[in-house]
Amino acid sequence: MTVPGKATTRLERSAAVTGIGQSAVGRRLNVDPLALTADACLAAIEDAGLRREDIDGLSTYPGSMPTPAGFSGAGITEVQEMLRLKLNWFCGGPELPGQLGSVVNAVMAVATGLAKHVLCFRTVWESTAQGGGGRQGIGSGGGGRFRASGFMQWTLPYGAASAAVWIAMMAKRHFHEFGTTREQMAWIALNARRNAGLNPNAVYRDPMSMDDYMAARMISSPFCLYDCDVPVDGSTAIIVSSVDAAKDLRKPPLVVEAVGTAVHGRPSWDQWDDLTTMALRDAGAMLWQRTDLTPADVDCAQLYDGFSFITLAWLEALGFCGKGESGPFVAGGSRIALDGEVPVNTHGGQLSGGRLHGYGFLHEAATQLWREGGDRQVAGEPRVAVAAAGGGPLGGCLLLRRD
């Protein structure tokens, strides 16, 4: 199988991240999600040193979507209308290589000249929308006449009503093949909580011990409560600009060195050939085929943790350790710590920072490269960061470079 990586011209390098913004992030904020979106978008535009009149592109994931409750807080049309943007290009939808696939779309729009400054956003309000009832199973609100169709027909009749169940089976297979343990996987959660303690915007900041982790109730083995991210309300915005247009902006442009968008296996939660790798395998491999940089050049890695196991799989997919070796790699938590060889999820991830659904990782990668991390800033002068999002059959990643 060939990967479209060895192209002589890598167009993504003509695009850069130039600004970021985030709304308040929290549990049950009871705020209009469109208002949260406005907060994030206006902050990102200002951060880049742009005016809203400069924005000529708009991109989002997953676009307007009424269910599951709170999964999508704003779509393209609402944001264009709210900000009265004059758009030359826009795109919003769920069928992408992960949530950050929407940012890759923006990169391509800028690289091909369809737009100069693309505002990318992702808004969630799952915490408020779910109310006091907690996290619900897919289809559980369907009533007696509900009938499952599409992929859901193969899982819902069996009570496999959540990605927690589907990905737990992938983790279990990894445990079986490679001897990975809960004590090893715990370090993804413990590291996230440790970093969240240094991030004033994270939702769960109290210290967590291995004993706390092991004592937590099980959700779907081997996942306990602390292996699952926490639904929140919040919006994140990222500005992607052409490098030519980025030159005179407020901040040093973060060039998109490479992207990974490949999915070569069957796009399915249970039919994927190697459940231990998920689609991340193909996206990660493609990313490194599009750059001369290597994992050793990465100063921090912001890797999706909707469930803790997904971060283990991204560490393997991106070559920070060998296939099957992520358990021993993270054990003890020193390699992935802020002062470790590859600091991971320096903001607390979605496990402790809140489920901003993919965009939080790119926001943090940019924060670190601009050295705005405050107490959680990695040491030295970080120049290269990777942001990766998605799990199961969805995965996409971007490598950012500050010159």
Binding site: G139, Q153, W154, Y158, G159, M169, R217, S221
Partner: protein
């Protein structure tokens, strides 16, 4: 043990062989009449040889647990945890997998590699859910 209150699938001409085969105690998949490849979930053509000559065929019902989880979270009202969700591989073809429940055995006795055999639960509306139990 009371039967869980399950969500039902929408039965269509494309999937009825799968959901209704249990009425005859048969686990059925589409099979390519040209290259004998089993196709699941159902599709209009064979992904191996692109033939459109697909027809339902019953398999032995023997399978092996590829992976599983013990679910403890109450996702669906009336479908009470704990219960085992598994992905099993059908004996006839390594890539022929499905998500299911393992029943008629203690939860702690389920393991990867465990030989299992199909059994069916009549959900009404003509739907017979393929489940798996330890092979005798």
């Amino acid at each position: 043990m009371t039967k869980p209150s399950r969500l039902l699938p929408l039965v269509t001409p494309e999937n009825e062989h799968y959901w209704q085969g249990g009425a005859r105690d048969e686990l059925c998949f589409l099979c390519c009449q040209d290259c004998s490849h089993y196709v699941h979930p159902p599709a209009p053509l064979c992904p191996e040889c692109l033939s459109r000559k697909l027809a339902p065929r019953a398999v032995s019902g023997r399978a092996v647990v590829h992976t599983f989880t013990v679910n403890h979270q109450p996702w669906i009202p009336g479908f009470d945890p704990p219960y085992v969700v598994a992905i099993v591989e059908i004996e006839e073809q390594p890539s022929l997998r499905l998500t299911t429940n393992v029943k008629n055995c203690a939860i702690e006795d389920v393991s990867i590699g465990m030989p299992v055999q199909v059994c069916f639960e009549d959900l009404g509306d003509g739907v017979f859910l393929p489940l798996f139990e330890p092979r005798a």
